[in-house]
């Protein structure tokens, strides 16, 4: 066997989206030799898809804004389940992270006095989102990419080598983390997508920044890279995940044509007068106003239509109910046979205003449908349905350092959990990845500085990882038919979409777990054709291990949480339950279970208590508001003195 390619670094960053690049920049600036490993080309990460903006209480547009207001908005958005310490750090540090980008060359849209402009967004009390038109994520990622290049140029001038201290390993996939006998991080094992050759990294610290899990669902706004790699790598290395039941579904994604299934349709369409209709042409949302919102929404179409022009004397249309309500309603309409031809419902703005007006108010939506779907939204209705958008759950980390339960293993961005609680506010993910990307980079740097010796990986683990990676090329076990990875993936997406999607029930999730168990068995017989050079079938077969593991974490957590909160809606437990607010569900796997499945190790889920919020932070809220979420016993710490 030929010698496997080896590299030695101080810090490995897995993932080159916003969080990964920000972490790498920090580690490199602290003087550490840093490698960035990413599945795609440098600069293609999913961060480029973010449109709206990056939330930071800079107060450029609304002077009254402050970190305290941002903190409150974030906790409310997450229905008070968030890691309050993360929400605090996030709100306090986001402005510095945005300003720093500007010093690295970012060009945000401006206010009239030349500062960074900020826009309104759902759930944010004040205009707070720094933005560049509707391509903020691209600006953010490109700026970080160019900062990495700037640091490489500095190294080049000093050493003659661009990659002396910071190197990007693009189109390289990490399949396993390596740990020493005590469980501390020692490195990582992966393969070059281009050649299929293996590569081993020795490093005492790893920062996971691999993003989300959306590719386990049929309808998603996420790219192929979102296969939950970081979540699964962390589990297999001995770290735990939290909040995996919380998956954000946006109610209006495109469902047709197939080429654009899942792409978001902005809420602005409804805000500007677009209405949802079923196949009978009925505006069905009037039948779905839940009791808690009774009286706040229009009861007739006439009143709803008057609201657009006169909001003082009319109530708003139920088309603008909160996202989970709208998504639930669409789901019911489709299930009961009143859906559109392609399994969604109709979003109609064409019959509501003149064509010219639509093009003026919704230029990007007009363009998106025209270009991608050949649909003229000024002439015909759009077909929309819920789309998997973001996972709130992720690797359980220390808020200040980003360190997981495994020494030397850090995480930031979407693959880390806790920050957003049960539901993320728009605009809070770009700021999240900057704040916690930097903190994870710092955490890793401090950890490495404090180490006496570099951990050495357990003997045999590299060979085991290589065998595991090559298994899909083996013939299936005797008598078994070879499984096609594309077929398995499609079936997994079907299971998660249909049974663990936007609306959940115990019965459906039990079936889902059974089906996932079957898929786990079939994955062992997966067979790929061809050789190792740039072979997408093989890549998918390996990614499926992670997708299956994460899907079991989502389904098991969702089955256990017997309430509805944020991104987790149980048809059989439709209410918020204060007894669940202070409990988080923690997913672990037993890595060394002798009888376990090495391909997709089994996960277990257990409830744990969330640390109670610090008193000064609790005091930022009115007691009346907290009483909607907290048990009475928890509120004795509040200065207004909740009844004990």
């Amino acid at each position: 066997m030929t010698e496997t390619e080896r590299h030695e670094y101080d810090v490995l960053v897995v993932g080159a989206g916003g969080a990964g690049l920000r972490a790498a920049i920090e580690a490199r600036e602290r003087g550490l030799r840093t490698a960035i490993i990413c599945k795609s080309l440098f600069g293609k990460a999913h961060t480029v898809m973010a449109e709206g903006g990056c939330a930071a209480a800079m107060g450029n547009v609304a002077e009254k804004d402050s970190w305290q207001v941002h903190f409150r908005d974030t906790m409310r958005g997450g229905k008070f389940l968030n890691s309050w310490r993360m929400a605090e750090l996030h709100a306090k540090e986001a402005p510095d992270r945005v300003w720093e980008l500007e010093a690295w060359g970012a060009l945000f849209d401006r206010t009239p006095d030349g500062r960074i402009s900020q826009r309104n967004f759902g759930g944010h009390t004040y205009p707070r989102l720094a933005h560049v038109g509707d391509r903020t994520g691209l600006e953010l990622l490109r700026t970080l990419q160019q900062r990495v290049v700037a640091l490489q140029q500095a190294d080049y001038f000093q050493t003659g080598d661009y990659e002396a201290r910071l190197r990007v390993f693009a189109e390289c996939t990490v399949t396993e983390l390596l740990t020493d006998d005590d469980g501390a991080i020692a490195g990582a094992f992966g393969y070059w997508r281009e050649s299929g050759r293996f590569v081993v990294f020795s490093a005492p610290a790893v920062v996971l920044a691999t993003g989300g899990i959306g590719k386990s669902f049929k309808v998603t706004s996420n790219s192929w890279e979102y296969t939950g790699d970081g979540h699964a790598l962390a589990l297999r290395a001995g770290a735990s995940l939290v909040d995996m039941e919380f998956v954000q579904f946006h109610p209006t994604g495109m469902v047709w044509p197939p080429s654009v299934k899942g792409i978001l349709v902005t809420e602005g369409v409804r805000g500007d007068g677009g209405v949802l209709r079923n196949s009978d042409g009925d505006r069905f949302m009037f039948g779905y106003v839940p009791d808690v919102f009774k009286g706040q929404y229009a009861q007739t179409e006439d009143e709803a239509d008057r609201w657009y022009d006169d909001q003082d004397n009319n109530r708003r249309t139920p088309d603008l109910l909160p996202r989970d309500e709208v998504a639930r309603a669409i789901n019911t309409e489709v299930k009961e046979g009143r859906g559109s031809p392609h399994g969604g419902v109709f979003l109609d703005i064409a019959s509501r205003m003149p064509a010219e007006e639509i093009r003026r108010r919704l230029p990007s939506m007009y363009h998106q449908f025209k270009e991608l779907a050949d649909v003229d939204i000024t002439a015909e209705p759009m077909e929309v349905g819920p789309t998997c958008h973001y996972v709130m759950g992720g690797i359980d980390v220390d808020p200040d350092t980003g360190q997981s339960g495994v020494p030397g293993l850090f995480a930031a961005g979407e693959c880390a959990g806790g920050m957003h609680g049960s539901n993320r506010l728009g605009g809070n993910s770009l700021s999240d990845l900057l704040v916690f990307g930097r903190r994870a980079g710092l955490g890793a740097a401090d950890y490495v500085a404090g180490l006496g010796r570099r951990p050495a990986w357990r003997s045999g683990d590299v060979d085991a990882a290589a065998r595991m990676a090559l298994a899909p090329f083996d013939a299936p076990s005797a008598g078994a038919p070879g499984e096609n990875p594309y077929t398995l993936h499609a079936e997994l997406q079907g299971v998660m979409n249909d049974l663990v999607g936007i609306i959940r029930t115990e019965a459906e999730m039990s079936v889902a777990l059974e089906r996932l168990g079957e898929l786990r068995g079939r994955l062992r017989d997966v067979v790929v054709e061809g050789h190792r050079q740039y072979n997408p079938g093989w890549h998918l077969a390996l990614d499926l291990r992670n997708m299956l593991m994460v899907s079991e974490a989502v389904a098991s957590s969702a089955l256990m949480r017997t309430e509805s909160r944020g991104g987790h809606t149980r048809d059989d437990h439709p209410m918020l339950d204060p007894e669940w607010r202070h409990r988080v569900l923690v997913t672990r796997c037993d890595r060394d279970d002798p009888g376990g499945d090495p391909v997709v190790p089994r996960v277990t889920v257990e409830p744990e208590e969330r640390v109670p919020m610090r008193e000064d932070l609790l005091a930022l809220f009115d007691l009346v508001e907290l009483e909607k979420y907290y048990t009475a016993a928890e509120l004795t710490a509040h200065p207004e003195g909740g009844a004990a």
């Binding site: 402005p95 006095d113 560049v132 790219s223």
Partner: protein, 250 residues
């Protein structure tokens, strides 16, 4: 509405390859990338193609369709008639790795050769003040999704490997323009764009602008203004005279 479409897809590696014929289901509303994915799922599981967002935002799935540099995810099947053969080949300007995947490292090497944004030394983060009108010009260039289709189509390097060492290509000449037009960049980039990055080799045929999926006016708004600045600095008779005099040995 489905039909059986005829596709010719280039398959091979650095050592060589050939067009392979496929008959494949095509459904209403699909783009070329959907059909490529169907080929992977049903007929050619190891067919190599890059892609990410599938929404024209990441610039990964660049290739040539019937000879035209295009994004696979933004080329709708409805632009072809059902009996038309659709030919998909890798970008010609870059070395093939496998099938539709090419080695685009040339672009990353060029990106490193451009001196980075240089703000004034005394300006702290948070103190930047720029007007919208002033940032707008560079913002247009920052819409670039780095699909490298402009690099692929540019005749300076398309069949001229020998020019790659001295020519940054439209994407990175535009990057220089972006920094030159940045209201707070203090670096002088005019000499470099001509001498190090090869702007003089561009003869403004606008091919780059034509293939840009973001609709950036690369030639008109970036390259020509940079050429004008070079001309102003290099060929203005007064500037020339001044420079010649100051260079005289005393």
């Amino acid at each position: 509405m489905s039909y059986t479409g005829r596709f010719r897809v280039w398959r091979g590696h650095a050592g060589g390859g050939a067009l392979a014929d496929f008959e494949v289901e095509v459904n209403e509303g699909e783009v070329v990338l959907d059909v490529i994915h169907r080929l992977q799922a049903t007929q050619a599981p190891d067919l190599a193609v890059r892609w990410n967002c599938k929404a024209g935002k990441c610039g990964s799935c660049s290739a040539e369709i019937n000879g035209q540099p295009r994004l696979l995810c933004m080329t709708r099947m409805s632009v072809f008639t059902p009996d038309e053969v659709v030919t998909v080949t890798p970008m010609r300007t870059f070395p093939v790795i496998r099938d539709l995947v090419t080695d685009v490292s040339y672009n990353y090497a060029k990106a490193r050769e451009i001196p980075s944004f240089t703000p004034p030394i005394d300006l702290a983060p948070g103190e930047f003040r720029m007007s919208q009108a002033d940032v707008q010009r560079s913002q247009e260039f920052r819409k670039c999704i780095e699909c490298f289709l402009c690099q692929d189509t540019c005749h300076v390097v398309r069949d001229h490997e020998e020019n790659k060492a001295v020519f940054a290509g439209p994407r990175f000449l535009m990057r220089v323009a972006e920094l030159e037009m940045h209201p707070l960049d203090v670096s002088d980039r005019v000499a470099g764009v001509q001498d190090q990055h090869g702007l003089g080799r561009c003869n403004i045929t606008k091919c780059c602008t034509e293939v840009c999926p973001e609709g950036i006016k690369i030639t008109d708004n970036a390259l020509i203004p940079m050429k004008e600045r070079v001309a102003d600095q290099r060929y203005d008779p007064l500037v020339w005279l001044g420079r010649t005099i100051s260079r005289r040995p005393r």
